[in-house]
Amino acid sequence: MVNNNIHIVIIEPSTIIYEGLSSILGYSDDHFSISRLDKMDDIPNYTMRKTADVILINPAQVENNLKTYNTIRNGLSQTKWIGIIYAYFDQHLLSVFDESISIFDTPESIISLVHRTADQSEDSELSTQEKLTDREVEVLKLLTAGNSNKEIADQLNISTHTVISHRKNLSQKTGIKSVSGLTIYAVVKNIITLDNFKE
């Protein structure tokens, strides 16, 4: 599902290394989407448009730019940083990253490391859990009864914006986007009965 995509940015001057990483990651999992940036300075511009969950970076980019690195890093509290190691680097330099991978690591261990690292950075675990909140259940009931966003907002005394955000969460948790699909869900989970539905 598109909902819990893990967005990975790779900052690596070597095309061979970049292509290698990107095909290992890209083919392991539909949820990874991968972009490449030339240099660290491009990050702030990029992250204004798109969020980066994980940044894989060649430590040489950071080596003489620790100050820039820290500034960028502080601006992106959600993002995790992983160093790509294929040459000798000082231990101190490596300690500025959350994790590091070596180009001699197996594809499996790289994939699982990226997953683990990304999972810490967001509450994706939480949001994919199916448990609905009371408010979401209320929205779901009104939705399946054929109410529009505006009507739901009026009945629950909340803004349409909030209704939309509840609906987004509902779709994320259940994996179902259409109202007719959500109706089936609600019947199966005994949130509404078929009699409600027929009316």
Partner: protein, 244 residues
């Protein structure tokens, strides 16, 4: 979506080997109207035999193999005939084979599973299928006919026959909706609908949905990224008096 092994296809490749690697290419051949008994022919030979431009064939094959449509390929207006045929054949496959197959699995599931929820799934699918049908018929009857006329007009180099206020860019939208509901169905079957003794049939149904989705994804991309831009280009060429 099934991940095909990523081989960038070249004209010298043997079609049979490509299919061993990615069986979905069988569907692609069918959509091109090429029979499955391909013997040991290469892509180049097949294209020649069936009058399909090599660039076009390769670009579709590579799409099926998981590559982005190449931006360096320029399609010619004569490709439109083949693309339209391809899209029409694909529609026919959906309408006459794939959707009825899915529908019959749902019926079978319903027989094994006497829950009221199944009745709703049936209804959900029927409504969904009705929407799909409407969309496909619209394309078959309005869009493709329009493009055929446009093409005739282009061949004769007439500007007068350009239909005044219709443009191919008017249609595009529906696709997303079609794919969303397919996703909904998969989620219902895998996560929410209680399982009775319908395990086997549910698996068949899901496989069938995945197959449809694979083909549908590519179909959408061909329409949105190749077909529509090419028709728009032809519209512009006609409007500007063939570059005179």
């Amino acid at each position: 979506m099934v991940q095909a092994k990523k081989t960038l296809v070249l004209p010298e490749a043997r079609m049979s080997e490509l299919i061993f690697e990615n069986p979905y290419l069988m569907l692609m051949l069918e959509h091109f109207g090429i029979s499955l008994l391909i013997q040991d022919k290469t892509v180049r030979q097949l294209c020649k035999e069936h009058n399909v431009s090599e660039d076009l064939f390769l670009s579709f094959t590579n799409l099926f193999n998981g590559f982005q449509p190449s931006v360096t390929i320029t399609y010619s207006f004569t490709d439109l005939k083949i693309i339209t045929l391809f899209l029409r054949n694909t529609h026919q496959y959906y309408l006459e084979e794939k959707y009825p197959q899915i529908r019959s699995y749902i019926t079978q599931m319903f027989e094994l599973n006497d829950q009221s929820a199944m009745l709703m799934v049936e209804k959900f699918f029927d409504q969904y299928f009705a929407e799909v049908k409407e969309h496909l018929h619209y394309e078959d009857q309005i869009v493709f006919t329009y493009v055929n006329n446009l093409f005739d007009c282009f061949e004769k180099k007439q500007a007068a026959c350009l239909p005044g206020n219709y443009s191919v860019s008017d249609y595009q939208e529906h696709h997303e909706d079609i794919e969303d509901k397919l996703e909904d169905l998969k989620n219902l079957l895998l996560k929410h609908l209680p399982l009775d003794n319908d395990q086997q049939i549910r698996r068949k149904l899901l496989f069938s949905l995945f197959e449809l989705e694979y083909d549908l994804n590519i179909h959408t991309r061909i329409e949105d990224e190749i077909f529509i831009p090419l028709v728009e280009k032809m519209e512009r060429t006609i409007k500007t008096g063939y570059g005179k």
